[in-house]
């Protein structure tokens, strides 16, 4: 197989309200153990890509902490590794701080790897895509650019604001924005296989059309004149662009039909590991339909929830339809329903936290309520 560079593209407008106040959506905790970015990184690792660059838009601190040297995702072979691509020049300039400028700023890192293809994928669209298969398809068509898409039948509810695309004979004719009008549509997964030289052309040429063009804008602009190949992906895919969607997609995993489509034995999801003891269930624990991370100490009732690392749930406390982040504490007898509790937050005084089933209540990192 020709050598491939993976690029994780974190340039996005997704926001999870309070959850992304001090971290990018890519660093947001998921299922009590992962960060959202782990999915795309694991796909790259499992697709045998060993040189990965992460295009960082903003708030790099939590990303650096999570990613470290890339060891957790098996990118530490001498031949590869993980690089942080950060556009310091434009970090404070919203309009110019886009993926193409970031790529241009860091072009020597891409040029220094002797690769034929570049795979670009976002962190906020969760998939278990095998990029190796996509590259094989790309090679067969002889196209310079291939875009992955999925056919969905609930476009009125999800992928709102994402790109839809019109495909004819495997070629993309045009892109448009999903305004939620049609349920049946083909949505872009913002996942691309691009010949390295074609990417360099785009980086150079796009600004001739507009200096504000992002990669997806450039592709939409080129679709009419250049051949962009379409690749249909039929596996698990979710668009996580808001706090509501984050909450919904998280709890959906409690349905084993869905989570077992993601947790496949031949497709490990890698993440940063921690020195945490196993979860401990005390005498009064009662847990149903939930994910429980290590280090949790549980002596209350937990239902339909996701409990993160080192969470403590006191005697008689009740937690339902909630997502509790690392190190949060729920005092004895408290009731927490439809709530997201961020890292190290505590329920102490106000013992009834009841959120809306669609729009969960959010408790900030470290806050005590």
């Amino acid at each position: 197989m020709a050598k491939v560079i993976g690029i994780v593209n974190l340039h996005t407008t997704t926001s999870f309200d309070g959850l992304t106040e001090r971290r990018p959506s890519a660093s947001v905790s998921f299922l009590g153990r992962y960060a959202l970015i782990d999915f795309v990184l694991s796909n790259m690792s499992n697709s045998n890509i060993d040189s990965v660059g992460v295009l960082i838009q903003e708030k790099p601190r939590s990303l650096f902490k999570h990613l470290g040297g890339g060891d957790s995702w098996n990118f530490n072979s001498k031949a590869g590794g993980i690089s942080f691509l950060y556009n310091e020049k434009y970090a404070n300039n919203k309009k110019y701080n886009h993926d193409l400028n970031n790529l241009e700023e860091n072009i020597h890192i891409i040029e220094s790897v002797n690769a034929k293809y570049v795979v670009i994928a976002p962190a906020h669209i969760l998939t278990t895509m095998n990029y190796d298969d996509m590259i094989t398809a790309h090679e067969k068509t002889g196209a310079r650019i291939t875009v992955a898409y999925q056919h969905i039948n609930n476009g009125g509810e999800t992928f709102i604001g994402a790109q839809t695309l019109k495909v004819e004979d495997g070629i993309i004719k045009s892109f448009a924005a999903n305004k939620g009008v049609n349920n049946e549509c083909d949505v872009s997964l913002e996942t691309y296989v691009i010949n390295k030289d074609a990417l360099c052309d785009i980086i150079r040429d796009a600004k001739k059309a507009s200096s504000f063009f992002k990669l997806k804008d450039a592709l939409a602009y080129y679709a009419s004149e250049k051949k962009i190949n379409a690749y249909e992906y039929r596996g698990y895919a979710r668009y996580v662009d808001s706090l509501e969607n984050y909450y919904k997609v998280s709890l959906e995993f409690l349905n084993l039909d869905i989570s077992s489509a993601v947790f496949k034995s031949n497709w490990p999801i890698y993440t940063l590991t921690n020195d945490t003891p196993p979860a401990k269930y005390l005498k009064d624990a009662s847990v149903k339909k939930s994910f429980i991370a290590n280090g949790a100490l549980i002596n209350g009732t937990v239902e339909n929830s996701i409990i993160g690392r080192d969470v403590e749930i006191g005697t008689g406390a009740i937690v339902k339809n909630s997502i509790i982040f690392t190190g949060a504490k729920i005092a004895e007898g408290a009731v927490v329903v439809n709530t997201i509790m961020d890292k190290r937050s505590q329920v102490k005084i106000q013992k009834d936290l009841i959120g809306d089933p669609q729009t969960p209540l959010y408790v900030k990192e470290g806050d005590v309520v």
Binding site: P278, D284, A285, N294, V302
Partner: protein
């Protein structure tokens, strides 16, 4: 520049009384506590005590143990100035190929390793004890007393004392006699098999002992009696905490159950200063199903629980099917308990499948071991 202290962990033994559990791994590599291997305890104790050069002496089934210890990364011992070195029995220049003949011989054969680090003190540990201990405090005591050898002891009951090597001490803590498993113990201070020696003293005694053809080359049987005979300063250092030598299937089960009883061994590290480090395996978080009932149990990531689990320790990747009951048991990594099975008071070895509706030790008699290996 020599190190102040180097630790040597004796990890060569099989531990035959653990039966099938050590058919293909050495005793220090046996699983414990839902996530750990026994050797994590002495290694974490070293890391937490600030000891950063550790030799691990291996002989029996050393591949898994050697790979597991690796460069010491799991315990933060892989720094520029720190080392966890695996020291197998081997062929040496001018000596030839020799196996380790006893605990003292194993250290003797690695005098070269010790000389290289030229420590002032050497800490001798067993790879198969479960406890948290600050070796730095013991070293402080050793230095303060100006001892040649300090032996960690546990105050056991008079009844138990006959099972241990007993240190008979003077009022000032000096040891005047060592009784190996005495019928009529004169003291209840049992040796924990943890020694700090002033290295140059130990080095002399090891070299002397190696020349003695009649010696069993054992610390308890030879080195300590020889030092006592020479009126060397041997001190007993009393340890007051949880300590367990898991020599048998029964005691391994008990030590696991102790974790549920909130004895002194605090895996949850409430004091935040004495973590036990181990390998973190790749796994999804544990999933608890709609019909599950879990209480008083320790369960590791990667498990899938749909039945009833009480009073048990479940390692990573264990599945408990609907309607199955697991009570007072230890389920090693990857055990699959199919629907309707009942397991009581048992240790189920790695990878065992308990097929549908099986009953293991249903009456909860003596602890039972189920393994795919032969003992």
């Amino acid at each position: 520049m020599g190190k102040e202290i180097v630790a040597m962990i004796l990890a060569g033994g099989r531990g035959t009384r653990l039966k099938a559990l050590t058919a293909s791994v050495a005793k220090p590599a046996v699983h414990f506590g839902g996530k750990y291997r026994i050797i994590d305890f002495p290694l974490s104790n070293c890391a937490n005590s600030g000891i950063d050069v550790v030799g691990v002496l291996t002989q029996y089934e050393s591949v898994l143990l050697g790979t597991y210890v690796g460069a010491g990364t799991k315990w933060g011992l892989d720094g520029k100035q720190s080392t966890a070195a695996v020291l197998p029995a081997r062929e040496r220049g001018g000596v030839g190929a020799t196996w380790y003949a006893g605990t003292a011989d194993a250290i003797y054969q690695n005098i070269g390793f010790l000389d290289e680090h030229s420590p002032e003190y050497v800490l001798i540990l067993s790879g198969d004890h479960i406890y948290k201990m600050d070796y730095d405090k013991m070293l402080e005591a050793h230095k303060q007393k100006g001892a040649d050898c300090t032996i960690a002891v546990l105050n056991v009951s008079l009844k138990e004392a006959s099972r241990f090597g007993i240190m008979n001490t003077n009022p000032d803590g000096t040891v005047y006699e060592f009784d190996e498993k005495p019928e009529k113990p004169k003291s209840t201070l049992a040796s924990m098999g943890i020694y700090i020696y002033t290295y140059q003293e130990l080095r002399k005694y090891l070299i002397e002992d190696a020349k003695d053809e009649k010696s069993a080359h054992d610390f308890g049987m030879n080195i300590i009696p020889n030092m006592l005979a020479d009126n060397k300063k041997l001190y007993a250092y009393e340890f007051d905490g949880y300590w367990k030598d898991v020599g048998t299937v029964e005691s391994l089960w008990e030590a696991n159950m102790d974790l549920l009883e909130d004895r002194e061994l605090d895996l949850y590290n409430i004091k935040k200063d004495w973590k036990i480090y181990t390998e973190d395996t790749l796994a999804q978080p544990q999933y608890v199903g709609e019909d599950a009932q879990i209480s008083n149990s320790i369960i590791n990531q990667g498990c899938m629980i749909e039945g009833t689990v009480t009073g048990s320790i479940l390692f990573g990747g264990v599945s408990v099917g609907k309607g199955a009951i697991v009570e007072d048991s230890v389920l090693m990594p990857g055990v699959l308990v199919e629907e309707g099975s009942v397991i009581r008071k048992a240790i189920i070895d790695e990878g065992v499948v308990i097929t549908e509706n099986s009953k293991i030790n249903e009456d909860a008699g003596e602890v039972v071991l189920v393994s795919n290996n032969e003992g």
